[in-house]
Amino acid sequence: MGEVLKISRLSKKFGKLQAVKELDLTINEGQIYGMLGPNGSGKTTTLGMILDVVTPDSGSYRWFGQKPTAKLRTKIGSILETPCFYPYLNAFDNLKISAHIKGVSFNSIDAALDRVGLLFRKNDKFKTYSLGMKQRLSIASALLADPPVLILDEPTNGLDPQGIAEIRNLIKDISNQGKSIILASHLLDEVQKICTNFCVLRNGKKLFDGEVAAILKDTMQYEMSSLDNVALSQRLALNNRVMKIQDEGDYLLITTDESIDAAKLNEYCHQNGIILTRLYNRKNSLENEFLKILESND
């Protein structure tokens, strides 16, 4: 796997505020990389620096193993925070500007507009668009050059649930084509659903980086219920592999040791004449892990 982006000891101060501090990051080809962090944790500043609109105080970064140039940026599709277009130009004329900079034929504009469902509004001025449409237009602009890397900063900001789902599917589509995506977000659920890798930033410092799949492994917690939860609870209490039983109302939340799994739990209940109506092995969530990471670094 080729290296897409390597950031080395990047730092930036705004006055007294240390926005980013000695940040190291490596993003490889094909990864969907989630940058997590509370608002003001330095995500957008970092993206600004690797796109040459914020001047770093120190440190360096390389795109595709090369020293960054304007020409290399034409191979990166980016949206930073709010969509930026001329309000008095229509969608087509606005995308002409991006297409011209990226050295892409104007013929590909229609396809990009179609991809985000805006082709029917292509002759309408940008200022007449709703927030969701503006957001989709900036995604169309990022997709124009069919770039190997996409940088999306809060791409679902201001979208309705349907719009969020659409963008999510679009991102998955794009990643299935083998493209790399850098996704900055404070929506953990979004990152968990989309990303392969993630890092956690706070106050400009990287607290953690790793694979999403490694975090989302099974836990030793099960949600269980049967027709008679009291009997189930009594029976489970007799099993010495069950460490803890909590009544959660319509189900029991039990914690076990590592020597038992869902199949064995089911077998145990069945042998004791209890028919389970629910048996669910809880997964860890990124949210849990995120909060743990923040706590352990307090």
Binding site: S78, S98, H100
Partner: protein, 275 residues
Amino acid sequence: MTSAIKLEWLKLKNYPVFWVLIAMYLFALMVVAFGGTFFLEWLKSKGLDFNGVDPTMLPLYDFPDIWQNLTWLASFIKILLAYVVIISVNNDLSYNLLRQNIIDGFSKKNYLVSKIALIVGLALMSTSALFGAGLVNGFIHSEVISARYIFDEMEFLAAYALDIFVFCSFAFLLSLIIKKAGFIIVALTIYSLMFEPLLCFILENAPFLTDPIWPNIAQFLPISALNNLIAIPFPKYIFQEVVTDIPIKPLIIVLVWEAIFVGGIVYILNKGDIK
């Protein structure tokens, strides 16, 4: 280079405000260029005369004097072209388009080239419009019509183009420093039409500035250096005084100011974070 020019064209081509401003400017330019005879008629109707000479007898449109007369007059409305530059740069900043252009892969150097191209374009457009208006007026009113006189003193048109170029560069620099278009427009107008001329007047005439150095400072200020490029043509009709060249000293001062303006623009583009 051509890529930078084309980008600027894509930004302006479908921008109605740009075309309205250009149209208004050209209209104003034509009023200035063709209004001379009407103005002299008006002076006459007010009973004014120049040492006994009927104002309408002034050979305002005679080749080659016409070039100095017209460029000097037209220089007064160059501020309208500066507004075009201010609005164009301010749109890029206030809608975050400069940032987006750079993110998309445009270099800061190319951005500078694209705006300089706009300024050069405005200067060339204005100069050629004025040249055309001068030809028409000259053919109608001039006593002498021959190539030797028509194309004499073309340096006034060159000075006029330079005047616009440097003034618009100043407007470009201000637009990068101040983010509010309305504020820059007011500030630039007041500075160039009132503040600096007033300052020059004080430097040159105030009784309390006795040291001879003070009146000398005035000529180094940007607006007065630009105004000195094309000398006031009318004294020649009254005093028979002839200043028909572009003086070299204001030319050098103006070029130094241009270097300062471009240096400032490059500095801001390179050093600052682009918000």
